[in-house]
């Protein structure tokens, strides 16, 4: 019976995981018990400290998918495909959190859960592109053509990312622009610390999730090849019993 060896990558993974967990606990206490409540919106503004870092983590996943897809189109390998797929999966997870926390905040701040604001619309569109990627990979098989098509989708999906980012400046809308190049609109140092910690945590979380999913996908590819080899060698009858 095979026993899993504890390798260096396991040590790095668990150190990162422990760091993420500790920082998460600190962040949650900091946000709810130390960071001041916003004067006009009240406690619902604290959604911001999760919503914005989640949107940032969505970009990390999308960028990973983009680079994995480009690399796959240049030279197809299992690892590149797995990395792109992991990036898309992470984007869907983080994007879903963004699209849930945003409307929860909007219900209080705007009096409505959803409005077809440019940033909300472009974010939804981008989320749907990565969701389509995941659905395609889940149901369209795992052949070379499907992988290439998914890689093309992963590259095209990234085209929407700058549009999400600059949509507020270009087309206006109701979405707040608290974080700006000129220093931002957070009026208390604790607000800035809470947001900074949020960015750190969700960067770590995105790295951990992309790494984990890549590893699972690579394992799946190895299993598929092993099954094909077993069938070629006529060993499949032994596994049918």
């Amino acid at each position: 019976m095979a026993r899993a060896r504890f390798r260096r990558q396991d040590a790095v993974f668990f150190v990162l995981l422990a760091l993420t967990a500790i920082t998460f606990v600190v962040e949650i206490f900091f946000i709810f018990l130390k960071t001041p409540t916003e004067a006009r919106m009240g406690i619902v503004q604290k959604v911001f400290y999760f919503h914005v870092p989640n949107a940032y983590a969505f970009y990390i996943g999308a960028v990973a998918c983009f680079f994995g897809s480009i690399a796959y189109l240049v030279r197809p390998t299992d690892a590149r495909d797995a990395f792109a797929r992991a990036g898309a999966s992470a984007s869907v997870a983080f994007g879903a959190v963004v699209l849930i926390t945003g409307p929860l905040w909007g219900a209080k701040a705007w009096g409505t859960l959803w409005t077809w604001d440019p940033r909300l619309t472009t974010m939804l569109l981008s989320f749907l592109i990565y969701l389509a990627y995941i659905v395609l990979r889940a149901f369209a098989g795992d052949g070379a053509a499907e992988r290439r098509f998914a890689a093309a989708l992963g590259v095209l999906g990234a085209a929407n990312l700058p549009i999400i980012h600059y949509s507020v400046q270009k087309w206006g809308g109701q979405h707040p622009t608290v974080i700006t190049g000129s220093g931002g609109g957070l009026q208390h140092p604790d607000m800035k610390i809470a947001l900074g910690l949020g960015f750190l945590i969700f960067t770590l979380l995105a790295v951990l999730l992309i790494w984990t999913i890549t590893r699972v996908e690579l394992g799946r590819n190895r299993l598929r090849r092993a099954e094909e080899d077993a069938i070629d060698l006529g060993l499949d009858r032994r596994t049918e019993a």
């Binding site: 095979a2 995981l17 949650i28 190895r222």
Partner: protein, 83 residues
């Protein structure tokens, strides 16, 4: 602790034991509800991250089994290639 809340040293008869629990009135709450809520929220994240760690460990043991399987397939391949 107030004097009336201390347990009586005298043995209680079956008729004398308490049959109701009365809430304390007029005192501050023993635990901060806000801190408990935040602790619960933090715990959810810790459990979620522990689950990610568990998935990683499971994948590690699956990889080891795959190593064995690939070795066996290579052996079978070498055997079948022999004249």
């Amino acid at each position: 602790m107030s004097e009336e809340m201390q347990p009586s040293a005298a043995p209680q008869s079956a008729d004398g034991r308490s049959t109701t629990f009365q809430p304390v009135t007029g005192e501050a709450e023993h635990y901060s509800g806000e801190a408990l809520l935040v602790s619960a929220y933090a715990l959810i994240w810790v459990v979620l991250l522990a689950w990610v760690g568990l998935v990683w460990r499971k994948q590690g043991s699956l990889d080891a089994r795959l190593d064995d399987l690939e070795r066996e397939i290579e052996k079978a391949d070498a055997k079948s290639a022999r004249p």
